[in-house]
């Protein structure tokens, strides 16, 4: 149920922990990368404005011909000549302030609908600039639903509220210059923000950052992993049944309990089968089956890096699980066959490092530690697993 809240009342009376969270929180949050990319694009666009400003009568508020059907051009094309001139001058005069505001403003995510009370009435908004706090509140879900260009447009609009144009704040409802109708300032800021985005697209600086939007996000809730590892089984004495090496495949599902609390719960299954020839005509098949469940704790060793650095999102996961283990030996030949199974239940410790690839895919490698024994009584044969086994795999976060 969507609850409409009065922004000014609600945000003062409720704790921000329950409905909002700070940008760049623990482990990164949903929206952090999108917001960072938008800010980078805004700064790059401001640099374009600066560069063009060195020319006489630069054209800044226009829609490039090759992008004439871009959605943001609708706003630009609504301006008349005078308004475009005013917009252009506005950008020329405010680009450095804009850049400053982009680095000095705080951002907070809001996970509820926001209602803005104003002279013209109440309306639902996607972002609110609180000038006195140098804070911009962003409705996270709406923000993420927008296209990348729209997101940058939105942030640029809100940042423009912090620039000291002609000595005063810019309020959306006020007329300004040739934008002399009600909400004229909003029209100007929208046009300026749209022009900024289109400039950066035209100059290809916008595109420099869109690639980051495909970064794998550590805040995903559901984690699906596949790993391959060496079998940890070893004989306790040298026998004819020895299988030198075999591969196991692990399938894991983990659930991130809370992004602020880096705990996972997880389920894991592993399986591996290896065959070898025995004597003249017998095939020995060793099958391993493991099922485990437990908890994991995640650490981010490179949080100090820039959020857009891929290592920033990488993390170490330490898990403790209870594992149910089953090993079966099957001897098969033309006349008869024989199978014996041994089982054990034992704790398992794991440590693995996840590194982001792209589009919520990760690669990981790590070690498991186990200490178990399996005894096959009929054939008087013992296998053990004691020590480390290494694995390597890929993960998808959802």
């Amino acid at each position: 149920m969507n609850v409409r809240l009065n922004i000014t009342l609600v945000l003062l009376s409720f704790s921000t922990v329950t409905m909002s969270s700070t940008f760049l929180g623990n482990g990164g949050q949903s929206g952090d990368i999108e917001l960072t990319v938008s800010l980078k694009q805004i700064r790059a666009a401001a640099d374009v404005v600066e560069e063009r400003s060195e020319k006489k009568s630069p054209q800044l508020c226009y829609c490039p011909e090759e992008y004439s059907d871009h959605q943001l051009c609708e706003i630009i094309n609504m301006m008349n000549v005078a308004q475009k001139k005013y917009c252009s001058d506005f950008l020329q005069s405010q680009f450095s302030e804009l850049k400053k505001a982009s680095t000095q403003t705080r951002f907070e995510w809001v996970d509820e609908s926001m209602i803005n009370e104003s002279k013209s009435g109440s309306r639902e908004v996607e972002a609110v600039a609180q000038k006195e706090k140098k804070l911009i509140l962003i409705d996270r879900s709406n923000f993420l639903e927008r296209s990348p260009a729209q997101r940058t447009f939105l942030i640029a609009h809100e940042l423009f509220h912090f620039v000291p144009h002609k000595g005063g704040p810019l309020n959306d409802e006020d007329p300004i210059g040739p934008f002399d109708q009600a909400n004229g300032t909003r029209f100007l800021l929208n046009a300026a923000a749209a022009s900024l985005v289109m400039l950066s697209i035209e100059e290809n600086v916008y595109q420099d950052y869109t690639g980051y939007l495909k970064m794998s996000r550590p805040h995903r809730k559901h984690w699906f992993s596949v790993d391959v590892s060496d079998s940890p089984l070893k004989e306790t004495e040298k026998t004819n049944f020895n299988i030198e090496s075999s591969r196991n495949f692990k399938f894991s599902y983990r659930y991130l309990l809370n992004n602020d609390l880096p705990w996972f719960v997880g389920l894991q299954g592993a399986t591996g089968t290896e065959k070898r020839d025995l004597f003249s005509q017998t095939k020995l098949t060793r099958a391993e089956r493991y099922f485990s469940y437990g908890v994991g704790y995640r650490l981010f060793p490179f949080k100090h890096l820039n959020i857009l650095d891929s290592s920033w999102a990488s993390f170490v996961l330490i898990e403790a699980q209870l594992e149910h283990q089953s090993v079966s030996l099957n001897f098969n030949e033309i006349y008869t066959d024989y199978t014996e199974q041994a089982t054990a239940t034992a704790p398992k410790l794991s440590m693995q490092y996840f590194y982001p690839i792209k589009s919520d895919f990760w690669m990981q490698f790590g070690v498991d530690y186990r200490d178990s024994k399996f005894y096959f009584s009929t054939i008087d044969y013992e296998l053990k697993m004691k020590g480390l086994s290494f694995f390597l795999g890929v993960t998808y976060g959802l």
Partner: protein, 453 residues
């Protein structure tokens, strides 16, 4: 079985299966053709106890089946040498239990077992050793020196007497205790006091009956003799001898026949023996010295068998490869109620590789093969032979009672009720086929405990 023979056998089986026609007829024809092509390449091993010459003491090792005697109890111990694991298995004939497995000396050689149900030991023989192995697993290897290789054995289980004969005609007598340990023994050559041993066997009372030759009568005619050797008294003589050449204690019966190359005591008739000379089959009473005989004439001796009742199978044609194509006559010659009896048959058989006669139960069992690498004079189940089958005939009228195919891959052993087939399985696989009902019971995976090392 070497690769070449295995290839022939495999090809033969596949070929007849594909055709799916009158199996026996086609099988024989194909087998015959293949045999003609391949037999030249089948060279018998140098040590081959499946010998074809007569003049043995006891039975050739290959015929030393433990099941020589007819048994009435259905549950008895069976011993089988497994050519896959190279161990000896002890099972019960009921096939409910694998009772034990025994490691052997020189496992890579062919092994022959001598055993009597109810005994606590068995004899294990290869070309390099003779051992007694108790069913508790303890083994003792004979420290007697063997120059030649053992070719035949005579065993009197009631007395725990064993006589070995090797290819140098060395006679070795061993007296065992109930656990199979050698208490006493002697060895000597076949020549003594002007006589030379031709053939023989051990009587149920433990005396050794041998046919001998070498002397002449007053007219200068050669004399053959039967001699009954008291082994225990001879053993005493051997202990007193310092030279190693000691006197055998014996009674001698001069015979009117010559070249007695096969001697077969009649079970349950301690005083009667069936003999084969170069021209006759003779039933001889050791006490009364009365003999009854039938002539061999030009008939070919196909089989000399002491299982269970001694008998001789004669065939009119010596050309084994024509056995199937012509209806050929066979004569089954045996002793019954103090007389020599015969049964004649004109039925064409495959090659008879084993013949077992049970007069009390009124049957004659024949194990046949479509392909053999050689025509064996004595009973042999498990040498190179392909397309084996078993047939039981009612002795009184030779009516066929049962026929069963035998898997080429199996090592078999038989008693009067069952055929035991041990397959070349790493894990262990034995079947028991009931001869009358043809039901099959299986015992498997008994090797699994022994595969680890």
């Amino acid at each position: 079985m070497d690769f070449k023979n295995r290839l022939v056998s495999t090809f033969y089986r596949a070929f007849t299966k594909i055709l799916g026609a009158s199996f026996r007829r086609i099988r024989y024809l194909v087998g015959l053709s293949l045999a003609l092509v391949t037999l030249g390449g089948c060279v018998p091993a140098k040590f081959d106890p499946n010998i074809n010459y007569e003049n043995l003491i006891g039975s050739p090792l290959s015929s030393s089946t433990q099941l020589l005697k007819s048994v009435t109890n259905l549950k008895q111990n069976i011993l089988l040498f497994d050519r896959t694991s190279r161990k000896v298995h002890l099972i019960d004939s009921d096939l409910t239990e694998h009772k034990g497995v025994f490691s052997v000396e020189n496992p890579n050689l062919e092994h022959y077992l001598v055993y009597e149900d109810g005994k606590n030991y068995f004899l294990d023989i290869s070309k390099l050793h003779i051992s007694t192995i108790s069913l508790n697993g303890l083994s003792s290897k004979s420290n007697l020196k063997f120059v030649g290789q053992p070719v035949s054995v005579a065993y009197a289980p009631e007395k725990d007497f064993v006589v070995f004969y090797d290819d140098y005609q060395t006679l070795t007598f061993m007296k065992l205790d109930p656990q199979g340990n050698v208490i006493d023994s002697f060895q000597r050559g076949a020549f003594y006091e002007g006589w030379v041993i031709q053939a023989g066997d051990i009587l149920p009372d433990g005396r050794l009956l041998v046919s001998v030759k070498g002397k002449k009568d007053a007219n200068g005619n050669p004399i053959d003799s039967l001699q009954i050797i008291d082994l225990e008294k001879s053993l005493e003589n051997s202990k007193k001898s310092t030279s190693g050449d000691f006197k055998l204690d014996y009674q001698s019966i001069d015979m009117t026949v010559h070249n007695i190359s096969w001697v077969a005591p009649i079970p349950k008739k301690a005083n009667q023996v069936l003999l084969k000379t170069d021209s006759e089959i003779v039933l001889f009473n050791l006490d009364t010295k009365v003999s009854k005989s039938v002539t061999i004439d030009s008939w070919f001796v196909e089989k000399l068998s002491k299982s269970f009742d001694p008998h001789v199978v004669l065939r009119k044609s010596s050309d084994g490869f024509n056995t199937k194509l012509d209806n050929i006559e066979r004569r089954l010659v045996f002793s019954n109620n103090d007389e020599i009896e015969e049964r004649r048959s004109t039925r064409s058989h495959h090659f008879i590789i084993s013949s077992v006669l049970n007069i009390d139960e009124n049957y004659w069992d024949v194990t046949q093969a479509a392909i053999v690498s050689e025509l064996y004079l004595f009973n042999i189940y498990n040498t190179y032979a392909s397309g084996r089958s078993f047939a039981r005939f009612r002795l009184s009228d030779l009516m066929a009672l049962t026929e069963l195919d035998i898997d080429d891959r199996a090592i078999i052993e038989m008693n009067q009720h069952y055929i035991f087939s041990l397959f070349p399985s790493d894990l262990g696989f034995i079947t028991r086929t009931d001869i009358e009902s043809q039901s099959v019971k299986t015992l498997k995976n008994f090797n699994i405990r022994h595969l680890k090392n």
